[in-house]
């Protein structure tokens, strides 16, 4: 059923978009690719498992807890992996990449020890509730995921465009020195960025738990790589591009599984990365920049 597949694709794509937004925010402001973002996302998913399945508490508490925990993780990441490298003389641009890779494998293996290696079911009260419209089945969970994602994107866009903090963040992304001269507390903005990005990762974690009903420590890596693929697809640091890229990847993966070879599903993202980087390094929606090199 094409229409059903499209709905599946959009559901998946909106989660991808949320993950990618986390990457994009950090890249936009700091110019850093946060390789640990996928693992923070995975922690969010595990918080969801603990709150709903283990403790039997309602879903909204899971969201709240995931936001708090992943926000704190984001703060710690900034303190430990990013701040020490900032403004230090002679540090290569590869250093933050490497230090966040360090954070990512630390977190992944920490969750192995904390939660155990296998798949953890993510129970929720309405997993099986569905509607029949004609010959199409839509699950309540799918609608919920889609609605939450859209709300999140709208709130984020509003916040970036209209609020003072959002404007400060964009100014910092534009040019950190100028922003700091103009009186923006860039240090706080940077922390805020990483914390918000991480909290969005946490929310996405719960959404994925709801969508697939299964959570494991390796999911951070594969989601992280997909997030990377999306921001490369959408243009680094480009908020709209991340949303569009997420939808594109979600749809194409779903269609590959439905009409192609499901084994290659995970390769879609990486092949996308390679093809886009080679054909259009600025991303589908990005603008070509003149390399400054005086």
């Amino acid at each position: 059923m094409l229409l059903e597949q499209l709905i599946n694709g959009i559901t998946l794509g909106s989660i991808y978009a949320i993950v990618a937004l986390g990457f994009t925010l950090v890249f936009g402001v700091l110019g850093i690719i946060n390789m640990a973002h996928g693992e923070i996302f995975m922690f969010g998913a595990f918080i969801g498992v603990i709150i709903t399945s283990t403790l039997g508490l309602p879903l909204w508490i899971a969201f709240l807890a995931a936001i708090i925990v992943t926000g704190i993780l984001g703060y710690m990441l900034e303190r430990v992996a990013l701040r020490p490298l900032r403004g230090k003389q002679g540090v290569s641009h590869l250093a933050p990449l490497i230090s966040t890779i360090g954070a990512s494998i630390l977190l992944e293996n920490l969750s192995h020890h904390l939660f155990g290696a296998g798949n953890h079911p993510f129970r929720n009260a309405f997993a099986e509730i569905s509607f029949q419209i004609g010959s199409i089945t839509i699950y309540l969970v799918q609608i919920l995921i889609f609605v939450i994602s859209v709300i999140l994107m709208i709130v984020l866009s509003y916040w970036l465009l209209k609020t003072k903090a959002g404007k400060a963040l964009r100014a910092t992304a534009e040019n950190i020195e100028t922003a700091s001269i103009l009186g923006v507390n860039t240090k706080r903005i940077i922390i805020l960025t990483v914390v918000i990005a991480s909290a969005m990762g946490g929310i996405a974690g719960i959404l994925v738990g709801m969508a697939f009903n299964s959570v494991n420590p390796q999911m951070g890596l594969s989601m992280g790589l997909k997030g990377l693929a999306i921001i490369i697809l959408g243009g680094m640091g480009n908020v709209r591009g991340a949303m569009a890229g997420g939808l594109i990847l979600g749809l194409s993966e779903t269609l590959i599984v439905a009409y192609g070879d499901s084994g290659y599903r995970d390769a879609v993202a990486f092949i996308t990365i390679i093809v886009i980087l080679l054909l259009r390094p600025q991303g589908l929606f990005g603008q070509k920049t003149t390399a400054a090199g005086r």
Partner: protein
């Protein structure tokens, strides 16, 4: 009788792992020495391993031919990835190569008719045993030198790898102290300036990248013929990170750094068994701490100078480091 006791297959096995890991560490070192970070070396390693394993198993090719073919095929893939990736700067190259590594792994998993999928390939001809067979046919018996058969096999592997390591270090060392090495270093320090001084940066960046791919493919092929068993999991993202950490921990600016990093990090979980479980957590911590406190790795040029001074207190020439920074 003495030799029987000294030659412990377990130690030799660990020693062989160290030597393979050193080759892997050097593979990333070479590429890094031109300022490029490749996270695809696990993928190239896999290409080398599968190429050689399949050739020796399915076509009865001698191991040495298989290993060389593995390295060459990995190198060809290196050209394929390296040339277009040149348009990518620093971080993008790292991600593109990471994506490449994952694509390769996914193919190994899915191309079941050839690669046997996630189960992997077993029964790959073993370097030590093959050499042993050849020698035995020629009438040689390890007992002559006081060794049991399996000891001899492990010892052979170890020495073959040791010889390869020596040759490789020699190669890299000489290349580094030459026009080629200076071009790599110049590109690493300032690409635009290097270009303005007449260095064809395209050529040298591809060269460094392909050398890295070739060396990892070589290491992968050796790995296949030492383990006798390979599976896609051997060439995953975790392997890529492990290779990276050899250079980052030991020191990414000097050859000794990668060698030390590979040796130490292979020995550590073997010596401290309880660490083995936390190995990747420790790797993660190491990467974090190294970037924060010592981004150049444990061993750098200063450390080497310091060692030289210790060893040759008299011959020490005055090093005119004036340290008068202006501006």
């Amino acid at each position: 009788m003495m030799l029987v006791e000294i030659v412990n297959p377990y130690y030799l096995q660990v020693g062989s792992f160290i030597l393979i890991n050193i080759i892997l560490g050097l593979s990333i070192y070479v590429t890094l020495s031109s300022g490029q970070l490749s996270l695809g070396n696990a993928g190239f390693m896999g290409i080398g391993a599968y190429t050689s394993a399949l050739l020796t198993l399915n076509f009865d090719v001698p191991i040495i031919v298989g290993v060389i073919a593995g390295a060459v095929v990995a190198g060809l893939f290196g050209i394929l990835v390296g040339i277009p990736s040149l348009r990518l700067q620093g971080v993008y190259l790292a991600i593109a190569t990471l994506g490449f590594g994952e694509v390769i792994r996914v193919f190994f998993v899915n191309w079941e008719s050839v690669t046997k999928g996630a189960v992997g390939i077993s029964g790959i001809p073993h370097i030590g045993r093959e050499i042993f067979m050849v020698l035995k046919d020629a009438g040689f018996d390890p007992a002559i030198i006081g060794l049991k058969n399996n000891q001899f096999v492990f010892l052979t592997v170890f020495f073959v790898l040791l010889l390869i390591n020596i040759l490789l270090v020699w190669f890299i060392f000489r290349q580094q102290n030459s026009r080629i090495g200076r071009a790599f270093a110049a590109i690493k320090m300032d690409e635009k300036a290097a270009e303005s001084m007449g260095i064809n940066i395209t050529y040298y960046k591809v060269l460094a990248f392909v050398q890295g791919a070739l060396i990892s493919g070589f290491a992968g092929a050796l790995f296949a013929h030492v383990m006798s068993y390979i599976s896609p999991a051997d060439f995953s993202y975790h392997r890529a990170v492990e290779i990276l950490i050899f250079a980052v921990f030991g020191g990414s600016e000097v050859i000794v750094g990668a060698i030390f990093g590979a040796t130490f990090l292979t020995l550590m979980p073997e010596m401290l068994r309880f660490i083995s479980e936390y190995r990747y957590m420790i790797y993660g911590l190491i990467l974090l701490l190294m970037m924060a406190f010592r981004p150049q790795g444990l061993i750098d040029v200063q450390v080497l100078h310091w060692f030289q001074k210790l060893r040759l207190p008299k011959r020490r020439a005055e090093h005119g480091s004036k340290n008068q920074k202006h501006l």
